[in-house]
């Protein structure tokens, strides 16, 4: 009974293994896996990995995490502190007179070094092995996780060792070493405090460098009180640490074999570099006469100078320190009775190196930064947002180390905000790799049941148009008084409670903008005279409307056309335009995504315009950045995608970088609308690198004041289809954003992506907040009308179709 209720002890591993065995007997293991493992990884597949002690099924981990508000609060503080510490550390080094290197310069240097090693692993490995053996170390290349475990267990048996100690090592977690040894009666003492805490609670590390970051001081006090036999107070954290120190010291003195990982292994000298703050690795690698280093080839670095570059990046990225407290360099035995063994594990690394889309992930130096910036990680922690490895890198490497089924659930939590890519100290393109994993998951297990029909409808321009018009018509009676949002529908609790859904516009933007044309690329109706001095006077610009703008917010579309025309551009609108395919792409459905991308490329090419502009920033990202990747194996389409990408711009970039709007161009006497703030749509900030540009438009061109928004660059939680697939996750990320808006004191929130606007408006409404959420183009449009009232005085020309 109790087992049922808590969901523990059900023996998933055995059930899954049994089911796989039965399935294999009936119709092949692959078919069985397909049937047994839905895309969220609810059923665990007993793969060859980790010696049996595997995480619980994803759905359980996710649900448990959603129920843990204390963890969430802790992780929010953790992320905020980390952000300040990390940014300060890099800035101080850049500005120091004996420093001067930027994060980017050091990052690119280390990435290039790592790439040299990844490209010629055998050569560097041979160099390391020769040097290590010269130093008197023993180098063993294991051929499986099991084999690596066995080597260490055999070593213990041979020497009659029953107690070993360990400093933190993710590689040992990966192969389930503790479990393997404990099952053979060998006691493993974890000496890193965080690692010991998760060992005491029979969990896995939830963060690469802060294993127990999901626990608060009450939990740790309970665990440590039990382990030390002392009554420890939650508020006396120093006392908890001291008690742990004394207890662990016994283990240090008893252990006769010490196991560590390595932060780097250096080829030219045959050296292991280990980094800790506690100093536990010094003891683990000093006191026992045998030291085993468990490591993968991806840790190889050619020279000591390279190691120094890694040192400069690692601690700053991990904890905001310039360097960790202890950085230890061990080059073989340091006394006659000492043995040093290297056990190399592959466990999917060669497969990664062989896959061009994932090779870069082997650069990882395990700093944890990709978790520290990740909004979904803050909501659910590393047990759900990861498998053995947590954070973005865990979403990428799990399929290689532990099989696609193990990675299927966690990857579904990424909202593609791209924040991780901006802080990774070795420039791994994590967001793209996560989408590549998602594609593999969809290819293997199919789309969730509800997504297939939705995407089928969405991908068919004609059907979609009919459906959207029908929805616009039939949703009217369901609108709340006032008409902007739907009444709460029965049964839609999880989707609507925290975010009101918009009522579609009576008339889509296309009806007005196409002027009744049914094909070709007609000129947009004249909504504004050319009023401004710009660099685009007379330039032919094709306008890509974007689905949500078209169907929900036609007034945004008109505002966009008005601004472009005010700049003097000749605005044309390709009639055959439909959705760019982003919903299919970010769902991992490449087949439909490509179909929609091809149609979009054809439609926009035919416009024969100098520039293609959209006020849907996420579509600009999809078209300019994802299309070329989407057609990676179709050279002809890839070339067309690249040509299109060169012309594709989001509105902000277009106005600032191409039209070069002048400061004050739209400055009108300030009306008292209260404080305004700006939310950086995550992809605009992280992918399009729009940092100064929106501010240039608001402060410069409009001449308006802006108040600061805390965490302005952190995702709002819309995340494309994520907010429908994982509404609970989306709700929490939105709550963080709304609290930040409260902090700012703003009454108007501006951003540049229609999906986020829908999400934020719905969130403001559902939570009873009275903050206007506007697209930047609407603010510009307000400025335009206020600046040139006479130009818009004539009736009939100016009213919005949606009004």
């Amino acid at each position: 009974m109790a087992e049922q209720e808590t969901g523990r002890g059900i023996g998933w591993g055995r059930l899954a293994a049994l089911a796989v065995a039965v399935g294999a007997a009936v119709g092949g293991a692959r078919a069985a896996r397909r049937a047994l493992t839905p895309p969220d990884g609810r059923t665990r597949v007993a793969k060859e990995d980790a010696g049996g002690h595997l995480p619980q099924p994803f759905a359980e981990r996710y649900q448990r995490a959603l129920n843990d508000d204390r963890m969430r609060a802790g992780l929010l503080r953790f992320q905020r502190n980390w952000r300040v510490g990390r940014d300060t550390a890099f800035a101080q080094y850049r500005e120091a007179e004996d420093g001067g290197k930027t994060f980017e310069a050091m990052r690119d240097e280390l990435a290039a070094t790592k790439d040299r090693v990844i490209a010629a692993p055998d050569r560097y490995f041979a160099q390391f092995k020769a040097a290590a053996e010269r130093n008197g170390a023993i180098v063993y290349e294991s051929h499986s996780a099991e084999d690596a475990n066995r080597y260490i267990a055999d070593l213990c048996d041979r020497k009659g060792i029953r107690v070993i100690d360990k400093s933190k090592s993710m590689a040992t977690e990966e192969i389930g070493l503790n479990h393997y040894l404990e099952a053979r009666g060998i006691h493993v003492a974890e000496t890193d405090l965080g690692e010991w805490l998760v060992q005491l609670s029979d969990e896995r590390p939830s963060h690469l460098i802060a294993p127990a970051v999901h626990m608060d001081r009450f939990i740790t006090a309970g665990l440590l009180s039990k382990a030390t036999g002392q009554q420890l107070e939650p508020d006396d954290i120093g006392g908890q640490v001291r008690a742990a120190r004394h207890k662990l010291r016994d283990d240090f003195l008893r252990a006769r074999l010490g196991i560590s990982g390595a932060n780097a292994i250096i080829c030219e000298t045959g050296t292991t570099m280990i980094v800790t703050n506690e100093g536990n690795a010094e003891l683990v690698t000093s006191l026992p006469d045998i030291h085993v280093v468990l490591v993968g080839r991806e840790k190889l670095l050619p020279t000591m100078a390279d190691a120094m570059t890694q040192v400069r990046l690692l601690a700053r990225s991990a904890t905001g320190q310039a360097i960790s407290v202890y950085t230890t360099f061990i080059s073989g035995p340091d006394r006659p009775e000492k043995e040093v063994h290297y056990v190399f594990v592959d466990n999917g690394r060669s497969a990664m190196a062989a896959d061009p889309a994932f090779r870069d992930a082997l650069r990882c130096i395990r700093c944890g930064a990709c978790a520290d910036v990740c909004p979904p990680y803050q909501v659910v922690g590393g047990h759900a947002f990861g498998y053995i490895y947590a954070g973005a890198i865990g979403l990428v490497n799990t399929p290689f180390h532990h099989g696609l089924a193990a990675g299927a659930g966690p990857q579904s939590l990424c909202v593609s905000c791209n924040a991780c890519a901006t802080v990774c100290p070795v420039a791994i393109d994590l967001p793209r790799q996560i989408l590549d994993v998602r594609r593999k998951v969809v290819e293997e297990y199919g789309l969730p049941w509800y997504k297939r029909p939705a995407l089928e409808l969405w991908s068919n321009a004609t059907l979609f148009d009919h459906a959207a018009r029908a929805a616009a018509k039939f949703s009217r009676p369901l609108a709340e008084p006032g008409g902007a949002f739907m009444r709460k529908l029965p049964g839609a609790g999880n989707y609507q409670r925290w975010r009101s859904l918009p009522v579609p516009a009576k008339e889509p933007a296309r009806d007005r903008l196409f002027g009744g044309e049914v094909h070709g690329t007609p000129r947009a109706p004249r909504l504004s005279p050319p009023l401004l001095q710009t660099r685009v006077t007379g330039t032919r610009v094709a306008y890509f409307i974007q689905c949500l703008t078209d169907r929900l917010y036609p007034q945004m579309a008109e505002a966009t056309v008005r601004i472009l025309q005010a700049c003097g551009a000749e605005v044309v609108v390709p009639v055959s335009q439909h959705c760019c395919g982003l919903p299919a792409f970010d769902s991992g459905d490449w087949e439909r995504a490509k179909r929609m991308a091809r149609a979009t490329i054809e439609s926009l090419e035919a416009a024969d315009a100098k520039w293609i502009v959209t006020a849907g920033a996420s579509c600009a990202v999809a078209i300019a950045h994802e299309y070329p990747h989407l057609f990676g194996d179709e050279p002809a389409w890839r070339a067309r995608a690249e040509a299109l990408a060169a012309k594709m711009l989001d509105l902000t970039s277009f106005l600032v970088r191409v039209a070069k709007l002048e400061d004050g161009a739209l400055a009108a006497p300030e009306r008292n609308v209260g404080p305004v703030t700006y939310h950086n749509f995550c992809q605009s900030y992280n992918v399009l690198k729009l940092h100064a540009e929106p501010l240039a438009l608001i402060r410069g061109v409009l001449g308006r004041d802006l108040v600061d928004l805390p965490e302005a660059n952190v995702c709002c939680g819309f995340g494309g289809s994520t907010s429908f697939d994982k509404p609970e996750l989306s709700e929490h990320i939105l709550a963080r954003k709304l609290e930040n808006v409260d902090q700012s004191g703003a009454t108007t929130l501006i951003t540049d992506n229609p999906g986020c606007i829908m999400h934020l408006r719905g969130g403001m409404d559902a939570s009873g907040r009275e903050v206007r959420v506007m697209h930047l183009v609407e603010l510009l449009d307000e400025g335009l009308r206020a600046k040139f009232p006479e130009a818009f005085a004539a009736p009939g020309r100016l009213e919005d179709a949606a009004d």
């Binding site: 608060d216 001081r217 740790t220 954290i237 050296t271 506690e278 100093g279 950085t327």
Partner: protein, 211 residues
């Protein structure tokens, strides 16, 4: 005063000392600019006088002691003399009980091969017994020669390479960069010093005394 230069960049040593002091200061390390080993002994005497945490307390009747790392002891026997003159009781490292030293010992003293101004790091390269002295007492004094302070991790990497390439039975087999007191933030990010190693770190820079 000090006009000697360190490293290829030729930065004046006293500037390096200032930088090192500034950066270690932020880590809670205390820098002592001393002219002689006797001043190190005076410092040690003060620290012994202040005692250590109850958990390390000496048995009833006995007083707190200091301990000298064997490598430093061998290289600078004068230090032992000065300590004794200053009335500091010493614990001894014995080969059979290398860790027996932790009871009643308030202060460990060892030598650093180099300092690194960029990060406030001390580079130590010695043996197991030295490392234990460094880890097991609650307070530690690292003694470094002013002339051995390097400007940055670049020079440190070069020295490290030379040390590790020196062959078996040289101190280069096991080299540590130590930057501040042992610490952990594993419980609610709350920074706690003295996780496994010393909670209090002192750096005595020999030859850097003012005036």
């Amino acid at each position: 005063m000090a006009t000697a230069v360190s490293g290829e960049r030729g930065v004046a040593l006293d500037l390096l000392v200032d930088r090192l002091a500034e950066r270690t200061g932020k880590l809670g390390v205390q820098i002592h600019r001393v002219a002689t080993l006797d001043e190190v002994a005076v410092l040690a005497a003060e620290l012994v006088e202040d005692g250590g945490p109850a958990a390390f307390a000496p048995p009833a009747g006995a007083g707190w002691r200091a301990i000298i790392a064997p490598t430093l002891d061998a290289a600078s026997p004068a230090l032992r003399q000065h300590l004794t003159t200053r009335g500091v009781a010493l614990a001894e490292v014995t080969p059979d009980r290398p860790t027996g030293a932790s009871v009643g010992v308030a202060v460990g003293i060892s030598a650093a091969a180099h300092g690194v101004a960029e990060t406030g790091t001390m580079i130590v390269a010695d043996g197991l017994a030295d490392r234990l002295v460094r880890m097991l007492a609650p307070k530690h004094i690292l003694v470094v020669q002013m002339a051995d302070i390097l400007p940055s991790l670049d020079e440190a990497g070069e020295r490290l390479r030379a040390l590790t390439a020196a062959g078996p039975d040289t101190p280069g087999r096991y080299v540590s960069f130590i930057t501040g007191p042992s610490r952990t933030a594993d419980i609610e990010m709350s920074l706690t010093v003295g996780a496994h190693g010393p909670a209090e770190l002192h750096i005595a820079i020999l030859g850097a005394a003012q005036g």
